[in-house]
Amino acid sequence: MSRDICIHAWPCTYYLEPERRWVAGQLSLTLPSLRFMTDSTGEILVSFPLSSIVEIKKETSHFIFSSITILEKGHAKHWFSSLRPSRNVVFSIIEHFWRELLLSQPGAVADVSGPRTRGKELTGLMAGSQKRLEDTARVLHHQGQQLDSVMRGLDKMESDLEVADRLLTELESPAWWPFSSKLWKTPPETKPREGVPVTSCEPFGKERILIKIPAIISHRTESHVKPGRLTVLVSGLEIHDSSSLLMHRFEREDVDDIKVYSPYEISIRQRFIGKPDMAYRLISAKMPEVIPILEVQFSKKMELLEDALVLRSTRTSSPAEKSCSVWHAASGLMGRTLHHEPPIVDQEGTALHLQTSLPALSEADTQELTQVRCPQCHASQRCVPVFPQAAPLTLLTTNKLWVVHIGLAPRRSCWPPLGCCREGGRAVSVPGPHTSWNTTCTTFRHICICMHT
């Protein structure tokens, strides 16, 4: 059987790349190959075997002329245009013969299996719809991520607006006003945060110290560096020098941005109009412990820079975790320095088992946490840290009714009641006696367990 019989030939034009012009001629298809011959000279300009075709596409040249492009192995692209009788016909014939190379046996008998059975058709339908659904899921996920980034952008805008607002109030207050501009116009921030009973804030007071670390401090320029201490309070940040003299106090709403240069170095800045910014740069070995707390307090104003981005990339390695904040990464660092804690036993001696594979809390932290009463029910409580890398956490309770609050440690006043997760976790029911519950605690730092009788 001769393989060189011309199956079909179509008049068309071919684009000559080096000369940048179209030549008229004939495109002919034989079983093994495709070739183009010019009308004028009868010269064969292109000839390549069908098996070297990588892709056949319908495209338009110059946005008007419909043409077929064939990508050949080795990345030569051939443009054929002005196809007669029509582009679609030529396209489907060429594509058919190309696919048949794969699908048919050389020299085998023709397909005798007959028409497709109903079952096969249904499977085909199903496979098609499955494919479409997969595509839909992909697009949906993509859009979700786009929305996320929109949210991030909005957050940033909002924080910038806050700064602008503060500066404006400062400008609005008359020059003779001797006090800080805040007194001139009561800022709206004084209203309580949504969903939090005002009373719940009282037991701690605004001046409660969250964490105190030694640090090396430089003011504005990096030339004079001196040792000192950074204190994170509920109401702001205090910077003391080595003799415990207060160098500066940032009120919480005054801080304009906090830049995290590395897990050990941050700078805090307050902007002013008409005078230099108040900026401090702090280096401390204990910074990784502070960053998570600052992250919660100043979430919108935190900014990760070059080296600190490493934190971010290590954080993303756990796919289960989606909420974006630095402290996830930082607490990973923290976890390494911590040691294991014995199982918690409450006052009555009932054992509480926390089956978790997590690093436990440092002693200092435990002390700090156990001093606090539960903001929701004011009962005595135990706080158990849950790190973001948490495996599902199982809590077994015995005898007593336990109420579980989940939340971020430094802002206890914001804890939601009864195990309703605030940041997108799964809601859990109130565990009664002898119940256990499972939840993937990826977004929560501490669980506080209160005893109710």
Partner: protein, 298 residues
């Protein structure tokens, strides 16, 4: 007729704008209000560009936008400059792809300088698409897709990054850089298999990775297939996995009929796309290698 009028008007505006820019260079003007002159010129260039657009004179429109962008740069308004460069790129795209790429690259430089990596990544994709369709320089398209994926990753938009990487992988496989393609497909597959929404497409990526392995070496493909099944148990039940097993078997026996039959059966349920056709053909060729080789060489 109307278009010609627009074009004439645009040309006049361009000339006027040029005059203003020149005037702003003179010493006295430079001292007093040189900037306002430039601002006016900027606006005129933009208007002229829009008129050229209406007249469908794309390269002139691109040129006008480019001028506007340069003036914006002079006025220190980076954002406006970048936007104008993008407009210029879009206009040039229809007439002079190379110039369009230059403009978009200028815009990208500005955006990366401002830290707007997501937008920069988006324009990298545009450039890659131009290379892909207009200039057919696949290697450069790949480079731009990779750059874009890097930027997206840095900005935590993993799904956009994956999209770019998959393009890279598809082209890499076509260019016979199978190792690169395999790495990408495996990485994307592993990333997506834990995601509740995306796990349904993971089998596709593993299938493609295994096919690339197959072209390189049959044994590799076998090992890879085992690895994928272990990593992602749902893969075992998929049609793709079954097809792969049949193909491997046929290949081992050098049985081109069984191979074709398996492919045919798969194709009868869901039509193979062009990428798969190419890859499967390459494998088939390696089976036919000795018997049918002569026919192909013609």
């Amino acid at each position: 007729m109307d278009n010609a009028g627009k074009e004439r008007e645009a040309v006049q505006l361009m000339a006027e704008a040029e005059k203003r820019v020149k005037a702003s260079h003179s010493f006295l003007r430079g001292l007093f209000g040189g900037n306002t002159r430039i601002e006016e010129a900027c606006e005129m260039y933009t208007r002229a560009a829009n008129m050229f657009k209406m007249a469908k004179n794309w390269s002139a429109a691109g040129n006008a936008f480019c001028q506007a962008a340069k003036l914006h740069m002079q006025l220190q308004s980076k954002h406006d400059s970048a936007t104008s460069f993008v407009d210029a790129g879009n206009a040039y795209k229809k007439a002079d792809p190379q110039e369009a790429i230059n403009c978009l690259n200028a815009a990208i430089d500005i955006y990366t300088d401002m830290g707007r990596f997501t937008i920069a990544a988006k324009h990298h994709i545009t450039i890659a698409e131009i290379y892909e369709t207009e200039l057919v320089d696949i290697e450069k398209a790949i480079a731009h897709y990779e750059q874009s994926a890097d930027y997206y990753k840095g900005e935590e938009s993993n799904s956009s990054a994956n999209k770019c990487l998959l393009k890279v992988a598809a082209y890499a496989a076509q260019l016979e850089q199978y190792q690169k393609a395999i790495e990408i497909y495996e990485q994307v597959g592993a990333n997506t298999m834990d995601n509740p929404l995306l796990k349904y497409s993971a089998k596709d990526y593993f299938f493609k990775a295994a096919l690339c392995h197959f072209i390189v070496d049959e044994l590799n493909a076998k090992l890879a297939l085992e690895k994928y099944e272990e990593m992602f148990p749902a893969f075992t039940d998929s049609r793709e996995c079954k097809l792969l097993k049949k193909l491997l078997e046929a290949h081992e026996e050098q049985n081109s009929e069984a191979y074709t039959e398996a492919v045919k059966e798969f194709d009868s349920i869901s039509r193979l796309d062009q990428w798969l056709t190419t890859m499967l053909l390459r494998i088939k060729k390696s089976i036919q290698g000795d018997g049918e080789g002569d026919g192909d060489l013609k």
